[in-house]
Symmetry: C2
């Protein structure tokens, strides 16, 4: 099975606890790793949970509160020590290179790889990365400072041909390539065999959405409709809705409402305030709105299975 | 017993591993905590190992390689979130405030406490802090960049009076205070009772020395003679002495030589290169030079017991 899996590195909010680290997620798609936020200690968490840091070429930073990026400078330094040469793409607020500049300078002139900064647009939805493996979209959240959510969509794989059909129609090798891309087969007599007769159903494109930090956005479903997995912050419980609103955070109930309205398959809640030693009540609160909810935990791996599309 | 104890938060060198964090130590003396270096994740380690971060008023940063200070900005941010109001004294290279300035600015104007920066002198030995609890001395090490070691010496406690002597000589309350400070007692008839007849032997002043990062300094014993506990880096094993020299680090054997020449009571080695999955061979190598050697480990607490001075 071709992997599409999320590893949770940190689930705490601004104040870490002895168990909850600052926000950082790694999404593995095929053989590539995408790092989403990079709180303090993320590089250590990655080593603990078997993420190959050398395979990360793209980093996405939602916003510039320290609990979402203070681990970045350490990771960049480790890349230097490891002799990284691959370009590293960082999608973040345009201020971040300036903020890190003095520390980057202190690393010396011998940084053996290139950092390519991609400033995020916090006002509108944008495709910020698209290649043969993934499409990444950023969209505005509603926080005290400019903050983006991210949606990761797997790109379609080549179609799998039904082997018996190759023999049946005597399909030449040069046509197989085209059929895998979705074309029909034209027989020597000019008649057409439809692609769907020759191939298995396409795998569904798997989707992950990352939404933290944010106040409750009632129409967030417009951005994340139907994703397989939604990570939505749930800093507070519903009794603290006023506090959530004042600090531009969400309650667990609100995370559940968003998941429900968005028809997602599964909801992970996180970014828990350090006041909650146990988050069961937050999970129950979200489940009242959206049943398939779990609390994110450090080291948790969520694998989205490959499934063929339903035949209509 | 009045505590003088060291908690080890990180023992790795520049590249962390899944088990070894970057350098950070906390020395607890009486009810105060002194933080020595602050590698990435130090604040999380402190929570894990029960260090009360609110009781830290003094931080000492040996040098400006990232593995010794990248955890500082996160700790400073947490202090803001916790509403700290006590002054915080940071002893470090004079460049550090500039390096952190842009991140400190981003924290906003609402930092509720004052940071008092104390620039270190990397050329000569200096007393950098002295109060009724502790005396801290910095001294030059030999690293690729300016780097200091630190020696922490407990200040003498008040003497304990032998209760029976108060009755025997009918000592008034106003004299007790003076006797505790070390003065003799003058009887109404003008004759003198010597202080040592009235008091228990003084407790020995306990001492801790922190020496990382550094190449081997054969005369380092001049700085750290007779300390109870020495932490000395042992990045490499003796087969890599050339590499140690080239990178201004020490071997385990060299750490042992320093401990031996300095007549310390106990040696802790650390700052291990990530190439060593197991550091037993490094410990054995140091023990060949200085028997009472142990490897530092995350979460290790070394308590130096109170002992009365020997009667001469």
């Amino acid at each position: 099975m071709i992997p599409f899996e999320l590893t949770i590195l940190g689930t705490g909010s601004a104040l870490p606890t002895s168990k909850r680290y600052h926000t950082a997620h790694v999404l593995k798609v095929r053989e590539r790793f995408f790092l989403i936020d990079c709180g303090e200690g993320a590089q250590i968490q990655m080593r603990k949970y078997g993420v190959k840091i050398s395979r990360i070429n793209h980093i996405f930073i939602s916003h510039l509160h320290g609990d979402h990026y203070f681990g970045l400078i350490g990771l960049l330094t480790s890349y230097t020590l490891l002799g990284r040469t691959n370009d590293l793409h960082i999608h973040a607020h345009s201020d971040l290179p300036n903020i890190l500049e003095s520390q980057l300078k202190y690393m010396g002139d011998d940084v053996p790889y290139k950092i390519i900064w991609h400033p995020l647009n916090f006002k509108k939805t944008q495709t910020i990365l698209e290649d043969d493996v993934i499409k990444v979209t950023s969209f505005p959240l509603n926080h005290r400072m400019a903050c983006c959510g991210f949606k990761f969509e797997e790109q379609p794989l080549e179609l799998n041909i039904v082997k018996e059909k190759i023999e049946e129609y005597n399909i030449p090798v040069r046509s197989i390539y085209r059929i895998k891309k979705g074309e029909d087969f034209i027989k020597p007599d000019g008649s057409i065999v439809q692609n769907k007769e020759l191939t298995f159903r396409q795998f569904r494109q798997r989707k992950y959405a990352f939404c933290t930090d944010t106040a409750y956005i009632p129409d967030l479903h417009k951005q994340i409709e139907g994703v397989d997995l939604l990570y939505h912050e749930a800093t507070f419980d519903k009794s603290m809705e006023d506090k959530a609103e004042a600090t531009y955070h969400s309650t667990a109930r609100q995370a559940g409402l968003v998941a429900h309205a968005s028809h997602v398959k599964k909801l992970l809640i996180g970014h828990f305030s350090s006041r909650y030693k146990n988050v069961d009540s937050l999970v129950n609160e979200a489940r009242a709105e959206f049943k398939n909810t779990e609390a994110a935990n450090e080291g948790m791996i969520v694998k989205i299975p490959q499934e063929r599309e339903q035949i209509e």
